[in-house]
């Protein structure tokens, strides 16, 4: 039966980890701008890098 004590505490620790992650994400303004990142992710890599890639090939 003692295993359930450990399991409960372990699960609580994991949950607290997620709580901390949530607070951290709010603190670092990750919810401030929910539009620009969606555009930003579609941009091509920098032109410079593209050239590097080509020379490698």
């Amino acid at each position: 039966m003692s295993v359930i004590f450990i399991l409960i505490l372990a699960s609580l620790m994991i949950a607290i980890g997620f709580l901390i992650a949530f607070i951290w994400s709010v603190k670092t303004n990750q919810y401030e701008d929910d539009y620009t990142p969606s555009v930003r992710i579609l941009f091509e890599n920098d032109v410079k890098q593209d050239k590097d890639d080509k020379t490698k090939q």
Binding site: I8, A15, F18
Partner: protein, 816 residues
């Protein structure tokens, strides 16, 4: 001939028509040198991907910014206020760029480092139209960065407001933390309570039960001390003021629940009600968050400082020009105001021809002409050439700006106690009498159960469902209204609207359409060739009427004009293809004409033959007369106009009651005050800065604007001009809010009665509380959001269209 119009060249940079076909680089044509320069700058550093993402992403560069415009940014005290972080190497600054409108903009602005390697980082917040830039101030400066942005077509908008010593409006995140923490605790407490629920309080493993209840107690501590603190604070404040607001019974319920649970767990006599307690705190916090959700991209608290420029060109006595911050401007000083700059203080015109656009102030689209010696009021924008002015009043004491010294602005607007608070007073009284009654009953029958039953009554009767019904109804209504272009500042505004009985309209820009003045030509049929002649001539002039006519004409190639002449206040003349053309007032063309049309007329005479006239009239918003007819059935309606009474006859048909003309901003404010003194609840509909006082004084100030990203004065609601004709259904919808709240009251009281049935008997088992509490909360949430959504169907039926949320989809290529 028609083929000619189809072969239109569009500017590679901004997409405007290329009237001059000589400006091009290889295949790429540009409408003006400005656009070409931007292309060249970008081409040099291989940033031409800018043009790949969206076609013609740029903004017209026809109006050039004068080179020394940003010299004032070298001022150290100014820099201190604009730069929000500075160390030895780096400066952090953010700019407001109203021109930002597409993904190309984001891309370019985030690659600024390629244009200037001393810009370390730049990041765009598209919805706020802001770019935050980190630059190395050892090699570059704030002014240089600003000039770079201007050079590529994104001139930052600086206003006096940037200087105000307001605390940074950092979005308050504590409520989000609280919700996160409470949600976490609530979920885990529920999980740990399941064994208790299923065994109905008779757990076999005593050790396990004890561990669970201590864990629950541990998890409830942050809920009680951190998350619920705002209820205690608010309740305490209200008790000190001798009012009972809704937070008072909630605070009592939380306090007693926690106290009794603590006792039960420590004395090992029961499992406590901590699951119910953290549940109600969680739901109430979510409700409040939902209700107070604001739009961070919109500003409801602008004053004149948001419109006024930061720097101004000062002319010293020896004729030198110097850039100084507007805040240092004093009376008697001579200043120079360039084209498309705002006049910062009341001035006398000393040199130049004033063509003052007061659209910010009054909503009037057609500029006013000013001659030397006349007074120009602050807030107008010069549209002609440069002016020399002498300042006669301080910036804060000008005709317009002194409005902000009025009481209405200094005292915070009474947000109006939600009527839920007045109900809660009775609720609390009833609650206490039930508690006392059950105490008396058990005192007679079984004194040992007094304590148990009284605490149970107070726990179960927590008016959280009551609170939830208001917060969720209002919150959902806010969300629905915003979908239809009606952006309320907060939920209290909806209740205020539902109580209003008087509506006051401003005229120009509110019930008239700002952009589209109707231009009609009366006279002989015009041929294509004739139109081409007229277009060529008006193309030369910068007069607002000429510009309006130019816009209304179909596109055709401009022909060079010879002997062009512009006579102030009269008209223009010139020779095009051997035709002598005169356009202007009736005096100018030497004809005595009695015109029946109101508004401005421009007569056209070609080769001494009068062809007819263009008449330019303000147009009223579509659906205005129907709207006013409907509103008049329920509201007192009046009109305040800063203009003269030239349109009185037309307006008289629509407004049965007060029609006031020549109203100054202060008059408008006073009129609202007078109505309120008679006990009226007033909605003010306005648009310009001159309505700012009235908007602020009224119970609900609604700013009507055609582009929600444009500037609008301080108000409670920002309304999209397209939704204007649907104002009545919107009002009706706001009124339904009370009905929905009352209905959900009935439901929540039914739940309370069930709870009380157990509580007065002193038999409230934790499991019953734990079932009753979430079921009542969730059903209230579902009912209120469902009902408010259901009622919104009437809006759809009325023909309202959903307005796209993202500014990207607005056609704001022409943003200021």
């Amino acid at each position: 001939m028609i083929k000619e119009t189809q072969r239109i060249m569009l500017c590679y940079h901004c997409g405007e028509n290329c009237e001059n076909e000589t400006i091009h680089i290889a295949e790429k044509h540009f409408c003006c040198q400005g656009c070409k320069t931007v292309y060249e700058i970008l081409n040099k550093v291989e940033l031409c991907d800018y043009y790949m993402m969206e076609s013609q992403p740029g903004l017209s560069q026809k109006t050039q910014v004068r080179p020394d415009k940003f010299v004032f940014l070298d001022d150290d005290t100014l820099q201190l206020k604009l730069i929000h972080y500075k160390d030895k190497v780096q400066s952090h600054v953010s700019f407001y760029l109203p021109q930002m409108h597409c993904s190309s903009c984001i891309w370019l602005l985030e690659h600024l480092g390629k244009l200037d390697k001393h810009i370390i980082r730049s990041q765009v917040n598209f919805l706020k139209k802001e770019v935050s830039i980190v630059f190395n101030h050892q090699y570059t400066s704030l002014r240089k960065v600003t000039e770079l942005l201007t050079a590529i077509g994104y001139e930052p908008h600086f206003s006096l407001n940037n200087l105000a010593d307001k605390p940074k409006k950092n979005y308050d995140k504590t409520r989000i933390y609280k919700i996160g923490v409470t949600g976490f605790c609530f979920g885990n407490i529920m999980l740990l309570s399941f064994p208790e629920y299923f065994s109905l309080g008779n757990m076999e493993e005593k050790d396990l039960q004890q561990l669970f209840s201590y864990l629950i107690l541990f998890l409830s501590l942050p809920v009680f001390f951190y998350s619920a603190s705002e209820f205690f604070v608010s309740a305490w404040k209200s008790i000190k003021q001798k009012i009972l607001n809704i937070d008072a019974p909630i605070a009592i319920a939380i306090l007693i629940t926690f106290g009794r649970s603590l006792y039960e767990i420590l004395s090992q006599t029961g499992a406590g009600y901590l699951d119910s307690m953290s549940g109600i705190v969680f739901f109430m916090l979510i409700g409040r968050f939902f209700q107070n959700k604001t739009y961070n991209t919109m500003a409801f608290d602008r004053d004149y400082t948001s419109y006024f420029p930061l720097g101004v060109t000062l002319l010293s006595e020896n004729g030198m020009e110097e850039q100084i911050p507007v805040s240092n401007l004093k009376t008697g000083q001579r200043i120079k105001v360039h084209s498309s700059e705002i006049i910062p203080a009341d001035c006398i015109l000393f040199l130049g021809k004033g063509m003052i656009d007061y659209s910010f102030v009054s909503g009037e689209a057609i500029p006013v002409e000013k001659h030397i010696g006349e007074i120009i009021y602050a807030g107008g924008k010069q549209t002609g050439g440069a002016l020399e002015l002498e300042v006669v009043k301080d910036v804060s004491q000008s005709y317009l700006t002194q409005l902000w010294n009025n009481d209405a602005f200094t005292k915070a607007k009474d947000t109006g106690k939600s009527y839920i608070h007045s109900i809660s007073k009775y609720f609390t009284l009833v609650l206490f009498s039930i508690a006392i009654a059950s105490a008396l009953y058990w005192y007679v029958h079984d004194a040992s159960r007094i304590w148990n039953s009284v605490t149970s009554v107070l726990i179960v009767a927590c008016p959280c469902a009551l609170l939830l019904s208001a917060t969720f109804t209002n919150g959902n209504m806010l969300r629905i209204l915003q979908k239809y272009g009606f952006y309320a500042r907060n939920a209290a505004v909806i209740e205020q609207i539902s109580e209003a009985d008087t509506i006051v309209f401003d005229k120009t820009g509110t019930i008239t359409q700002q952009e589209e003045s109707a231009i009609t030509f009366t006279g002989v049929q015009l041929h294509y060739e004739t139109i081409q002649l007229i277009r060529s001539l008006v193309g030369q002039s910068n007069h607002p009427l000429s510009k309006a006519i130019l816009q209304s004409l179909p596109f055709c190639k401009l022909i060079p004009v010879k002997n062009y002449e512009e006579l102030v206040g009269l008209g223009i003349r010139g020779r095009v293809l051997d035709h002598e053309i005169l356009m202007g007032s009736s005096d100018f063309i030497n004809e005595k004409i009695v015109s029946t049309d109101k508004g401005s007329n421009v007569y056209v005479k070609i080769d001494n033959k009068l062809l007819g006239y263009y008449s330019i009239q303000t147009t009223y918003r579509p659906g205005l007369s129907e709207l006013l007819k409907e509103l008049q059935e329920k509201y007192d309606i009046s009109l305040l106009s800063g203009d003269n009474n030239s349109e009185q006859l037309k307006l008289k048909k629509w407004f049965r009651s007060d029609l006031l003309f020549n109203q100054s901003p202060q008059d408008k404010l006073n009129y609202i005050k007078k109505l309120q003194a008679y006990g009226k609840k007033v909605i003010m509909m306005g648009d310009g800065l001159n309505d700012a006082g009235a908007l602020k004084q009224s119970d609900v100030g609604i700013a009507v604007t055609d582009n929600i990203n444009n500037f609008s004065p301080a108000c409670d609601v920002i309304m999209n001009g397209n939704s204007f004709s649907y104002f009545n259904p919107l009002l009706r919808y706001c009124k339904q809010n009370k009905l929905i709240i009352n209905m959900s009251f009935v439901i929540s009281i039914a739940y309370n009665l069930i709870g009380l049935y157990f509580a007065v008997q002193g038999q409230l088992k934790p499991v019953i509380a734990a079932i009753l509490m979430p079921v009542s909360s969730i059903s209230i949430v579902l009912f209120t959001t469902g009902m408010s959504s259901l009622c919104s169907l009437s809006l759809k039926k009325a023909g309202l269209k959903v307005i796209n949320k993202h500014p990207k989809d607005d056609t704001n290529h022409t943003a200021n």
